[in-house]
């Protein structure tokens, strides 16, 4: 069973402490929701987990082996990533982009293309296969990238705000898919600002909610935590409240009690 573990990991970029004292584990079947204000280090943490910062401090191990000692192909066999922003340099056909995510596998193109077709089907984007990247809407592009992550067939998956730019229906569909991937045995770490989307994941109560502020983990709880609203309020320096609709929990921001990030001086990490 694949497992990524960080022990007292840290990172400085350009002399600035971006991450420090991070200890975290992600294994098969886990679902970690990573939350926290802008600039708190969420994306940096994901990139550290992926081995994109060889200069990072502390221990990052994949199945017990130091991540930086592994070849890129070994890492790609364990970890896949949907970045927050993605700027392809050329308008390639969609099928090619998804197939390219299987770079680590030595296989003929037609095998990769078949896997890419299945992955596109899985995210409901089979009809996009023949289109070119520059003909897609933001939401379509996001689904194509989701398909690329699925096609890579790595057991541990990192998503950085995967529902960005999506309409509500596609947001929900995306989170359902993350839930399905987890149910299929994947370990998922997902950055999100919208805690309510987690409700659409099967077995939501077992989701681990990890909150970051100023490069440190300051909140580590479960979605089922009855005090989750309080934890989020302290994390975001805002006032969260909860109401229940039957068994479904809804979290909302009490706008009248929240100063707003521009007024709350020092609010940005």
């Amino acid at each position: 069973m694949t497992k990524l573990s960080l022990r007292d990991a840290g990172l400085s970029l350009g002399g600035r402490e971006v991450l420090s004292g991070i200890s975290l584990e992600l294994g098969a079947g886990d679902f970690v929701a990573l939350v926290g204000p802008n600039g708190s280090g969420k994306t940096s943490l994901i990139k550290l987990c992926l081995g994109l910062y060889p200069q990072g401090r502390g221990e990052v191990r994949l199945d017990g082996e130091e991540l930086r000692s592994l070849t890129p192909k070994r890492r790609a066999a364990g970890l896949a990533w949907l970045p927050q922003r993605w700027e392809p340099s050329e308008p390639l056909p969609v099928l090619e982009v998804v197939a390219a995510a299987r770079y680590r596998l030595r296989e003929p193109f037609r095998v990769a293309a078949a896997a890419a077709t299945r992955a596109l089907d899985r995210v409901g984007a089979a009809d996009l296969a023949e289109r070119h990247l520059d003909e897609l809407s933001g939401g379509e592009l996001q689904r194509v990238l989701l398909a690329a992550v699925v096609a890579q067939e790595a057991p541990l998956l990192f998503f950085d705000e995967p529902a960005n730019h999506l309409d509500p229906q596609h947001q929900i569909a995306t989170y359902r898919l993350l839930g399905e991937l987890r149910a299929g045995g994947a370990g998922v770490l997902c950055v999100t600002h919208d805690i309510n989307l987690l409700a659409h994941i099967d077995g939501a109560e077992k989701i681990r909610v990890v909150g970051m502020r100023d490069g440190r983990i300051v909140l580590d709880t479960r979605y089922s935590d009855p005090d989750l609203a309080k934890g989020l309020s302290e994390l975001y320096l805002a006032e969260y409240a909860e109401f229940k609709d039957g068994s479904v929990r809804h979290f909302y921001l009490r706008a009248e009690r929240t100063p707003g990030a521009f007024e709350a001086s020092g609010g940005e990490g």
């Binding site: 994109l52 192909k73 340099s89």
Partner: protein, 318 residues
């Protein structure tokens, strides 16, 4: 416009068309039905065709590879200082004088060494894992500017005969007698082209960006070193023999994309084929268009290449 106008046409058909276009070239020009016809055909036109094909193919392919690596359609074989280094090396010999070395013209040897030397400097920057491709681009520009300044300085001290030789060299040309150039170009260009053709998969993955490609299993530092190293080696050999021929490396990848090749499995081999065909035909024009003598092929590639590039790019933005 249908985006893949010729995209469905198989590589084999493209290759056949290119080979046919190349094969007729030795028959073009003054009649071979003279006593020296055999000599003209086998000692002048055929070696010139082969040199043109090897050089054009290598320049076209390296252009495609560099554009992928830098994620920039303006990258050319000269982006990492290869051409500036060759020019500097050649000028040293042309201005300061020199005979031959290893039975080769000293100009070619010096140009090759200059090209390899300056490219190696830029490669050293590229091989550092933390360097971004814009760092590499900057290093290439810095090296090119420095080498150009030195070249200008050298020319300033030169006499008029050396200046004329330098100007002639800098335009690029393919005239060859016999097979010496073919035999020297063959190992460098074939090794370089083969290595670059093998990079189709990682270059395709790089379209997603270096970080995404890295998480998909691409070894970024290795691909950079291989692509730039192989490209510089092949281009250095070409420039050493034929001078800095303009526009082939920049134009050909755009032209081939215009033909509908979007994936690197097709783009790379087609860039080689059409680079070879384009340069050979430009050279054929160069020796026919001016009845009194012949133009340097670099003049023809630049004169035809610039408008062709503008046409291709303008048509692409629908």
């Amino acid at each position: 416009m249908n985006r893949s106008a010729l995209g469905g046409v198989s590589l084999v058909l493209h290759a056949a068309a290119c080979l046919l276009l190349l094969a007729v070239v030795p028959l073009i020009g003054p009649s071979l039905d003279v006593p020296s016809g055999d000599f003209i055909l086998w000692q002048l036109r055929v070696p010139r065709l082969l040199v043109g094909a090897l050089v054009g193919g290598t320049l076209g392919l390296s252009g495609a590879v560099y554009q992928a690596l830098f994620r920039n359609g303006l990258a050319t074989p000269s982006t990492v200082g290869t051409l500036a280094g060759a020019t500097l090396g050649a000028l040293f010999v042309l201005v300061l004088g020199g005979g031959s070395a290893l039975g080769l013209p000293a100009v070619a040897v010096a140009a090759f060494l200059g090209a390899v030397g300056l490219s190696a400097l830029v490669l050293a920057v590229a091989a550092r894992q933390r360097a971004s491709m814009s760092d590499v681009l900057l290093a290439g520009i810095a090296v090119t500017l420095a080498a150009s300044a030195l070249s200008t300085g050298l020319q300033y001290t030169a006499d008029s005969r050396a200046l004329f030789a330098a100007a002639q060299w800098s335009l690029g040309s393919l005239p060859q007698v016999g097979y010496k150039a073919v035999l020297w170009l063959l190992p460098f260009t074939l090794l370089s082209s083969l290595l670059m053709l093998l990079l189709a998969r990682p270059l395709q993955a790089l379209v997603a960006g270096e970080e995404v490609a890295a998480t998909q299993g691409v070894s970024i530092a290795r691909v950079r070193a291989l692509a730039l190293g192989a490209g510089a080696l092949g281009v250095a050999a070409c420039v050493a023999w034929c001078g800095p021929i303009a526009f082939v490396g920049l134009l050909v990848p755009h032209l081939v994309r215009g033909l509908g090749a979007v994936t690197y499995r097709r783009l790379l081999p087609l860039s080689w084929l059409y680079g070879a065909t384009l340069l050979v035909w430009c050279d054929t024009l160069a020796r026919l268009v001016w009845p009194g003598g012949e133009l340097p092929v670099g003049v023809v590639t630049a004169a035809l290449g610039a408008p062709a590039l503008i046409f291709v790019v303008a048509r692409r933005r629908r």
